[in-house]
Symmetry: C2
Subunit: 326 residues, 2 copies
Amino acid sequence: MNEFDLIARYFAPLAGPEGLSLKDDTARFSPREDHDLLITTDSFVEGVHFPKAMYGADVAERLLRTNLSDIAAKGGAPLGYQLSVSMPAEKMEQWIPAFAKGLETTQAEYHCTLWGGDMTATTGPAVFSITLIGEVRQGNMVERAGASVGDDIWVSGTLGDAMLGCDLVTNQPILPAPKGEYIFAFETSYWRPEPAFAYRPILSKFATAAADISDGVMADVAHIARLSDACATLNFDALPFSMGAESWADGQKDPQQARQALASFGDDYGVVFAANAENRQAIFDAARHAKLKLTLIGSILPGEGSVCLDVDGQKIRWAQTGYRHK
Amino acid sequence: MNEFDLIARYFAPLAGPEGLSLKDDTARFSPREDHDLLITTDSFVEGVHFPKAMYGADVAERLLRTNLSDIAAKGGAPLGYQLSVSMPAEKMEQWIPAFAKGLETTQAEYHCTLWGGDMTATTGPAVFSITLIGEVRQGNMVERAGASVGDDIWVSGTLGDAMLGCDLVTNQPILPAPKGEYIFAFETSYWRPEPAFAYRPILSKFATAAADISDGVMADVAHIARLSDACATLNFDALPFSMGAESWADGQKDPQQARQALASFGDDYGVVFAANAENRQAIFDAARHAKLKLTLIGSILPGEGSVCLDVDGQKIRWAQTGYRHK
């Protein structure tokens, strides 16, 4: 099967009406009135963002979910996406059916469709890229900038599973050996990160600034603080590590350093956001009412604009907050 | 300089207000009322769509222009684009300034801006991908489907320079050796294909179906015919080859076969469109009035739905119309 046939057989069934059955060079979309569009792009390189020669459903799900995560963190809802596939020509026929299946599952779960894209052959590492388009009521996007001094910092869900999932998937030894249920949680967190759409009502109502946790919670908080010309403090002991991650950290020689690694890794893909401290009780109540795990982890402090993060009284410079790798 | 610094220094100045200074994970765009959006994606792989280790202004211009060409052929106007860059990390600092310069020049010429994207490192061939968003008055997109039996087929500009430009750029011998002015035309056509925006009023008013010439004029006409459940005939002698391409073809052992190669190659990136034959004179007048080269090259014929192209009475099957490579 050539590329035209693969597109017609496996990708065209994923297309929404905007995709014109993938028979045109462009998609056509009629935006709703009173809505802004949100547009985000994430690309995966073979051997960097997913293990070598894994071109199947897992990588497709992970790619689409990381894009969905950006839209979720901005308070938006997904609509459709453009897909660029560059992979070895001789692998296409074998892998594209599974890759498409992964997209199909994820599309169905998050209510978006394929609008178009491009498929090319490369002799080197595969590169998959998605540009996802979402919408939000006009003016309601939660930007990364916009936090004020005194704002609380909240984080959704739990942290840490993604790093250990990455280690598992890339065959890096995890000691102490995780229990079976942790292994499942780690792998799921790596391959199927959950975009924070459940938090959308809370974000829309309360967040002054937000980002998904892609660079590690410390780095992502630092990004938010820097864009608000401020500093931030994190109560490190409040960080909601998962039980599996806690169990791993407690088995390390330096558990505190292990937790810092977990908080620096990224790929957790929950949402971290700032909100006025006056709304603390209302946010707490809203999360409880919606049965959502939401943890108060710090606050925005006055800062001289230089990027720093105050973690339990210890100043951390910007350069030290970055992620180990993605 | 790391990737964050390169983005801040070279890409952020290209961002429109929608790009939020490239400091957020998503762009935000407020669509105009009564307009549809057009979305297209084209990706370039190093060594396939551009020569190896050329990561500079030329490849950036060619990439953005091929995307612009899709929007132009649909009767739209460009707005903004998402850019995905995957290239060797150690080459970034050297090449990104020139790459960004190529985008800047092209943006300024065609009035669009950078909205966002992703930058990743790969150890293999670079992959550059652009998703371009344009707009058109609601309902005014010229689709690839939509031609009727009896419609004329028109093509913009001249054909053939792109194939010879590709041969030049990829160091394939061109004999007879082209004259200096042809060399310039060939190279320009390869690196800086011209999107057919000048033809927009004609397309909007008259075209029933259209496509940019990316797969070769024969294949692109066949696409249009097939989507209209029809066949098409081309008057091969009417194809408007450039003087340089004619000169090259005349020097070949079989000039007719050489012209067929030119018509099969693609990358010309003009526009080919169908229009009701009743509008023939009006289209002719409109082109003359606007000083645009526009050539009547064939018509849509009844066909049994199987894909075929009748070139001067000789039936050509779909499989034989395809492009040599892109």
